[in-house]
Symmetry: C2
Subunit: 171 residues, 2 copies
Amino acid sequence: MATNPIRDVDLRARALVQDMVASMRHAILSVYDAANGYPHLSRIAAQADRDGVPMALLSEIAAHTHLLEANPRAGLLIEATQATKGDAMAQPRMTLQVVARRLPRDGSEHAARLDRWIAHNPKARAYAQLPDFHFWRLEPHGGLLNAGFGQAYYLQPADLKKPPTENGRGE
Amino acid sequence: MATNPIRDVDLRARALVQDMVASMRHAILSVYDAANGYPHLSRIAAQADRDGVPMALLSEIAAHTHLLEANPRAGLLIEATQATKGDAMAQPRMTLQVVARRLPRDGSEHAARLDRWIAHNPKARAYAQLPDFHFWRLEPHGGLLNAGFGQAYYLQPADLKKPPTENGRGE
C-alpha cells in the first residue's frame, strides 16, 4: 500500500476511454463555487465533439452555467453505462479535469453540431434550439480512469482525442 | 426568465429528498483539488446514517480520501434511481454541500454502523472490514434539488434530517 496504486494508461485503457466518451449522452459536471467554498454537481447533457473532446449543451439560466462563466475549470465524471442495469459501483468511470468554453450559437459549425447532437439524442430536439441553450467544449487537461477494482490509470489529453481519419474529419 | 427559477422546498419535495437519501447505496462525491484547481469526482459507496445524514465508506488509499483529508468541504450528488432503467436525465437528483468527518473505527457505534451498512448492501462485506476503510459523516449545509424539468428547490440542512421517532433513535 506504500506504492502508488495508479498506473499509466495502456492500449486497452485508452480504447475503453475513447469508447466511453464516444457513447456518452450525459455526464456529471462539477464546478467549484468560490462564493460558498463547495463544488456544485449536476447531471448534464453531454456528447463527444467530432475530435472526441467532450461537449455539453447547457442552458444559461442553470446554476452550473453561471458557475462555469465565473470559473471555467471543471470536473467531469463519465460512466461506462449510461442506462445501467448492473451495479454502478462495478462500472468503469473516469473523472476529467476540463476547461469549459462556450461556443457561438450561429454559423454552419453550430448547425452541424446541432444536427449531430439531435441524431444521437432525438429527445434533445425539444430544447436544443431554445435561445438560452449553448454548446460548450470541455477541453480535457488530465484525468483518472477507474476501470474496476484496483485498476486506476492517469489520463493525458492525448488519450481522449480521436485519432484523425483519412479525410481529417475524425468521423 | 428574469425571475429566480428556484423555489423554496415544500412537503412533497422534502418527502422526495428524504426518500432519496434513505434508499441511497452510492453517490457521486466531488472534492476540490486546490493543488490543480479542478474538482475531482468519484462514485462512492454511500448510505444514510440513522438520523438521515449521508455517510460514506471510503478507503484511505483512494484519491478522494486524500483530498477530503486536506479539505472536508465537498459536493455530493444523489440520484433517485441508482440502478436506473429509464433516462437518467429525467430522474430527480440533488447536489448537497457537505462537510466530511471521519468516524473512529472502533467501539460499539462503529460495529452497529457496519452491521446496518452490510444489511443494506451485502456486497460491501467483502471490503467494509478491511483496515483501510472508514466511515465518514457527510453533514449537509445546504443543497439544490432538481425534481424534474423546471422544478428546482433550495434545500436546508433540516430538510435532510429524519424527524425523530418516539424512542429518539430515528429508525
